[in-house]
Symmetry: C2
């Protein structure tokens, strides 16, 4: 099955590039509300399921035990930009669990935010704290400490922490996750292949608390609220996930993942959204998600106006000249 | 027409992402040797035609007049990484033409090379010299000076420099280039939409000197030789264009462009290559070009082995774990 073109990138008089993809929107009972392209194919959700990966943090009592704040819970769900307060927050989480940054096994990379990268360059080199996944890893380490297990190998698929994550993903998505679905993510933890429509179903459960245990429902609500209260910690300055959470609060939880994935939970509509660009393009995935939010969430005129720059982004060059724009397919409208 | 999948990105047990695209390989008479996908569609070649954009530099006598070196000619054809010697070379070119960096109108961006970006961050902020197109712009300024015209607006489509560039592109590609084909590039000069097969035809002429004037043929050979002699200046440390030029010298001229474009000239085979990934992905375009070089250029075993890491790249994560690989379509083999 060939997925349709969902985003065109226009420069001057021509369509310069095209992005294909698939979209699934489901309710908590698993009913498909919208399917575009192959919604049965398994995809790696990558960082788009960090909020599900963070659920054991609440389920195992780590939040109370270590007194984690909303900001720290948001960091556990985050792909952060490596800005100073992100880094400080992750270090603080680790300290609350009696650990230091040497426990992180995510690897180091330069901060996603250019200004933060420049600041790091002036004082040294990036550490694992700057890795966009360091909050998720700090969360995993908190779970290991709460469980009272050796934390050294917390990232391995066989470790009790990752086994709990796997079971959460199975509970929410309804997919069976074994070796045949398992790959290694950019930060070295397992990423599990899940059919797109199952992922959307999982986020509808995450949005509503229906179809899961009362404990899972409560934990999901806690994480959604934490991210809505500390949106900057979910991504960073100027980033889409942060801007949407700032704009719409608890009405939309949205999270990006590598290789063109986005997931969202719409509590008011009782819906979950999962999408994947065939080619892995984040720019297109973001425009598609913006269009789906505009379609499914009732918005005030000012909110709709604020969203528009993500739905139909203007492309500017190094001199800030307008050189083109992106156009989402009418299929999404 | 739907272009075929030419590159699959594999993670663990699954194909995670897919890149579609089109390929044209032509000889200097315009005969198609290989066509994959829609080779009649117009694409913006972007930086892949910098060597054609640099031809007026030779045609108008700027090389002799200002005593430009091979390194400086290579910079005029380059999308450089903004490393120290690139920046110094561009500044030297400008100085030879009696200008300084304030004449550049390409806009500033951080060096493509991470180490160079960190070095710039330690001492300040990037300038237009660090823009990957600054060598091309310095070349345009040299042409303006050689022509004795006001250089201030050298980047505008109506300026004598850009009109000369447009005519070179028309002569080489056989396409008629007017307003209906014109857009603005990332560095603000015009980029002209050209059918993919015409672009391949143009590079076959660039490779062989056939089908163009003796002056153009001589100038093309001069640029190919300069790039083969100073390959580091065409891109930079570890970059594909540089590595291929270092590996194969004058046997292959290859140049990348934004949004998934690559062009190449194979003098020994009398062929030109042009390719475009539908989605604009550079990673896929590079693998496709590597596969085409392996297909069309007779290689020693050691050369073939050196090329293999570009044809079937291994994907590693932040901990340097092997997490996947890219696989090019058998259509390219």
């Amino acid at each position: 099955m060939t997925n349709p073109v969902l985003v065109e990138v226009i420069r001057g008089p021509l369509v310069e590039s095209r992005h294909r993809g698939a979209v699934a929107v489901c309710d908590a009972e698993g009913k498909t509300v919208l399917a575009i392209g192959d919604d049965a194919a398994a995809i790696f959700p990558r960082s788009a399921v960090k909020a599900l990966q963070a659920l054991p943090l609440i389920m195992e009592g780590a939040v109370e035990r270590f007194g984690l704040s909303n900001e720290e819970l948001a960091l556990a769900c985050a792909s952060h930009s490596g800005e100073a307060a992100h880094v400080a927050g992750v270090e603080r989480m680790l300290g609350k669990a009696g650990l230091d940054p040497s426990a992180l096994r995510c690897g180091a990379h330069w901060p996603v935010a250019q200004a933060a990268a420049a600041a790091v360059a002036r004082s040294g080199a990036p550490s694992p704290l700057h890795n966009n996944c360091s909050g998720k890893h700090a969360g995993f380490l908190c779970v290991a400490r709460a469980l009272g297990v050796d934390h050294a190998d917390y990232w391995r698929p066989t470790h009790p922490v990752q086994q709990r994550v796997r079971r959460v993903l199975e509970d929410f998505t309804g997919a069976t996750l074994g070796e045949a679905q398992c790959a290694v993510d950019g930060c070295s933890v397992p990423t599990w292949g899940v059919p797109l429509r199952n992922l959307a179903h999982g986020f509808a459960k995450f949005a509503t608390g229906r179809g899961i245990s009362a404990e899972h429902a409560k934990a999901a609500a806690r994480l959604r609220q934490a991210c809505a209260k500390a949106p900057w910690f979910v991504a960073g300055t100027g980033r889409f996930c942060t801007e949407i959470l700032q704009l719409l609060g608890e009405r939309v939880f949205v999270k990006t993942g590598a290789e063109g994935v986005y997931c969202a939970a719409l509590p008011g509509q009782g819906l979950g959204i999962a999408l994947k660009c065939d080619d892995g393009a984040g720019r297109a995935a973001q425009a598609i998600m913006a269009a789906l939010i505009a379609r499914f969430v009732p918005l005030a005129a000012s909110e709709r106006a604020a969203l528009e720059r993500f739905v139909q982004p203007v492309l500017r060059n190094w001199n800030d000249f307008e050189v083109g724009r992106m156009r989402v397919s009418e299929m999404l409208a």
